[in-house]
C-alpha cells in the first residue's frame, strides 16, 4: 500500500499532504521535512526512486510542483509513477491546464479529487472518466444545497 502522498513546491512549501496511516503530528512534520530535503537535493537526470527507511520513495516533478509518494516495499515503482501521472491528469482535466496556483487556492478540491482516485493507500478507480464524473456530480450537489436532496445518478 501507499503510506503517504506529498505535494510541495521547489521552495519546499507544502501544498498537499495525504496520510494513509495514523501517525503523530510531530512524526508527520519530520517526514515532510525529510522528504522535501531529500527530493529537492536530487541532481537532475537521476532516477525517480529513493530508499528511505523501509519505504520506497517515488517522486516526479511537474512544472513547479514535486509529487512525492511513499510506498511499501512490495509496490511496483514504475506503476507508482503512473499513479502520480494519473493524478496529475485528473487535476488537469478538472482545472483545465492545472498549475500550482490552482492547487494553492483550491486545495480542498485537490483533496476531493484524490479521494475519488485513491483510498486507504490503494487505487480506488482506474477510469479517468468515472472519477471526473463523480467530482462533477458532487460539485453539483454542493450547488444544490439550498434545495432539497435528490439522487444524482452516475451516467453510463
Amino acid at each position: 500500500m501507499m503510506r503517504f502522498m506529498l505535494l510541495f513546491s521547489r521552495q519546499g512549501r507544502l501544498r498537499l499532504q495525504k496520510w494513509f496511516t495514523a501517525i503523530s503530528e510531530r512524526e508527520k512534520k519530520k517526514i515532510i521535512r525529510e522528504m522535501t530535503t531529500m527530493v529537492l537535493a536530487r541532481p537532475p537526470r537521476t532516477c525517480n526512486f529513493l530508499r528511505w527507511k523501509d519505504l520506497k520513495i517515488v517522486y516526479k516533478r511537474y512544472a513547479s510542483l514535486y509529487f512525492c509518494l511513499g510506498v511499501e516495499d512490495e509496490e511496483n515503482e514504475l506503476l507508482a509513477l503512473e499513479i502520480i501521472h494519473r493524478y496529475v491528469e485528473l487535476l488537469d482535466k478538472y482545472f483545465g491546464n492545472v498549475c500550482e496556483l490552482d492547487i494553492i487556492f483550491n486545495f480542498e478540491k485537490a483533496y476531493f479529487i484524490l479521494d475519488e482516485f485513491l483510498m486507504g493507500g490503494e487505487i480506488q478507480e482506474t477510469s479517468k472518466q468515472i472519477v471526473n464524473r463523480a467530482i462533477e456530480s458532487s460539485d453539483m450537489l454542493q450547488e444544490d444545497d439550498h434545495s432539497e436532496w435528490y439522487d444524482v445518478e452516475l451516467f453510463g
Binding site: L16, W19, S24, R45, F49, E77, M119, E122, D151
Partner: protein, 753 residues
Amino acid sequence: MPAPIRLRELIRTIRTARTQAEEREMIQKECAAIRSSFREEDNTYRCRNVAKLLYMHMLGYPAHFGQLECLKLIASQKFTDKRIGYLGAMLLLDERQDVHLLMTNCIKNDLNHSTQYVQGLALCTLGCMGSSEMCRDLAGEVEKLLKTSNSYLRKKAALCAVHVIRKVPELMEMFLPATKNLLSEKNHGVLHTSVVLLTEMCERSPDMLSHFRKLVPQLVRILKNLIMSGYSPEHDVSGISDPFLQVRILRLLRILGKNDDDSSEAMNDILAQVATNTETSKNVGNAILYETVLTIMDIKSESGLRVLAINILGRFLLNNDKNIRYVALTSLLKTVQTDHNAVQRHRSTIVDCLKDLDVSIKRRAMELSFALVNGNNIRGMMKELLYFLDSCDPDFKADCASGVFLAAEKYAPSKRWHIDTIMRVLTTAGSYVRDDSVPNLIQLITNSVEMHAYTVQRLYKALLDDISQQPLVQVASWCIGEYGDLLVSGQCEEEEPIQVTEDEVLDVLEGLLVSNLSTPVTRGYSLTAIMKLSTRFSSVNRIKKVVSIYGSSIDVELQQRAVEYNALFKKYDHMRPALLERMPIMEKSASNGPTEIVQTNGEAEPSAVESKHPPPVTQPTNQVRTILNTVFIGIPPMTAYSKNGLKIDFTFERANPNPNIAVITIHATNSTEAEMTDFVFQAAVPKTFQLQLLSPSSNVVPALNQGTVTQVIRVLNQQKQQLRMRIKLTYTHKGSAVQDLAEVNNFPPQSWQ
C-alpha cells in the same frame, strides 16, 4: 459581527506576507476570529471557517481547536458541510485524537444515507483512517455495502473492507461470503478493488489463500481479455488497457502461484503472453513487464519462462530510462541467489552500470557485482571494483571496501594477490575502511608468513606517501613493528628490495607520533611498534629516549604505554626479548574448540546419564561463552577429566607480563541428576613447575549441567618443560563420599611452550 472572510481571500492575504513573522501575525489574527466564531456556534460560516483552518494547518500551524467543529460539520445536513467536515476529519481527527470515536455515529448514519456521494464520503473517511474500535462497530455496514449493486459504492466498500481487515484482522471471515461474485464484475473499479481485497485476505491467512486458489482460471481469463481486447477509451493508457488492473492481477497471481505447482502451471501461458506481447516503448508497458518478471520469479515457473524473465531484466539494463535500469538491478539482486547462472550472463552489463551517473543505480550495481563475484571471475571483477572504489562517492567507499575485503578473502587466487588487493584498498580508500578491518587485516598478514617481507615493504612505501589514512597507518605501524628487521635487511623476494636504514624507519614512526593527522589510537600503534623494534634493531638508545619522552605525555593511553615500556627497559629488561618476540600465527576466533565441547555435552558421555530428561539448553551456551572468552588467545581448551558424570575442562590464558606463567581455569560440570556437594579439586605438578591454586567459585556442582564450578590455577613453567598434572577430586554424591585420582597429560603444546 461582519461575515468571516472567504477562504480564497484569506489565502491571497496570507501570500502577501513578506516575512515569516508577518505571516504568523496574520494567521494568529484570523485564528482568533475563527475561535470566536466557533464559540458563537455560527452554523452558516462554520464550513468556511474550518476550510480556512485546514489551510492554515497545511502551512504548519496548530488547528486542534477545530476538531469538534469538524464533527459538527459532518453531522450537518448540507453536503458542502459534510464534504469539508470529512476532509477536516481526515486531516485532524485520526485515531490518536480523543474525540475520534465521536465520529462513529455520524459515519454510521451517512453509510446508510440516500445519496451515494454522502455514503462515499463516509466510506472514504472510514477506509482511510478509521480506528480499530470504529472498524469493529461499522464492519457490518461495510459488509452490507460490499454486496450492493451500485458499483460506485461497491468499489469503495471493498477498499474500506481492506482497511477494516488491516486494523482488525479477526474480522476477515465476515467478508468472505461477499467476495463470492466480486470477480464477475464488469466494472473495472470494482474489479480492481476486489483484487486488492482478495490479495489482502490471501496475504493474511493461509486458509484464505488455499480457498482462493480456485480463482486462478478466472483471473487468467480477465487478464487475457485485458490484453487481447481492442482499444478501450475509458481505461487506455498509451495503448495498454487498464495497466493498474493488470499489475494488480499479476500480483495476486504471484501470491496464489507461490509454492503451488498446479496454479503456477495454470498461469504459465498468460505470463509468457504478457511477457512477449507488452509494448515496451513507454513506462507503463515496462511497469507491467516488471510485475510479470517478479511473478515469474516467485512462482514455480518452468525454466524457459525464468530465462525469459531474466532476459527481460537484461534488456531493461540496456534501456535509456534510468528508472528502468534501477528497477532491473533491484530485481536482479533479488534473484541472483536462486538463478545465479542466468544472472551471470549479464555480468558485463551490470559492471558497466558501475559507471552510471545516478547514485542509486551505482549502489545497486555495486551490490549486484559483489553478489556475482566467484572463483572464476575474481580477477576481472576485482579490477572493475577497485577502479570503482577509486572514483566513487565517499558514501560508497566504506561498503565497497568491506565488499572487496570479503570477496578477496573468499576467492583470492593467491596470497600475493590478496595482499596487493588489500594494499590497493588501504591506499585508495584507507580512511573509509571499517574499524574491524584493521585487526582482520593484521591477522591475515600474520598468517601469510612468506609474504611478510613484501607486505612490510609495500606498507612502508605507502607510509612515505601519505600518513593521513588512519587504518592504513595503523596496519603499517603494526607491520613495521613486527617485521622491521626484514625491512632493513632488504629481504623482499617479490619485488625489488628497498634500501632503508633503521634510523629512517624510526624517523617515520616517530613522525606518526607527532603528526596532527594521527589519532590517539594510531599513536598507540606507533609507540608500540617503536618499542617492538628495540628487539629487532640495534638503535636501542634512540628507542629508549623516545619511550621515556612519552612517559609524560598528556594522552593517558600513551603515557601508560610509555611508562610500562620504560619499566621494561629498566627493571624487566631480561623479559623484553621474550615479550616482544614475533607474534605466533593467530587462529581465527571461530575455532573447533567450542563446537567440540558442545557436542560432548550430554550426548557422548560414556558414563550413562541416568536422567531421561534431555540436557537443558542453557548449559552448552555457558560452556561456549567461557570457552570463547579464552579462545581468542589461540590456545584451545581441553577436557582434563570425564568420569561418572563429572567433567572437568581446562581453559588457558597467558599471564601478562610473564609469559612463563600459564593461567588455567578449570570448569567442573555434573551431568548426573544429583548435585555434588563438598566438591574439592586438588592438583600436583612435577618438581620443575610451581603451582598456585586460587579459591574455587563454589563447593557445589549443580546437577544436570545446570551450573559450573570454576577455579583458577597458575603454573610457573620457567624451564618450558612439557606440562603434566595429577589431579585429585573429592565430593559427596547421593549421600556417599567419592574420591578419584587422575593424570592429565593431554595439555596442548601452546600452553607450555
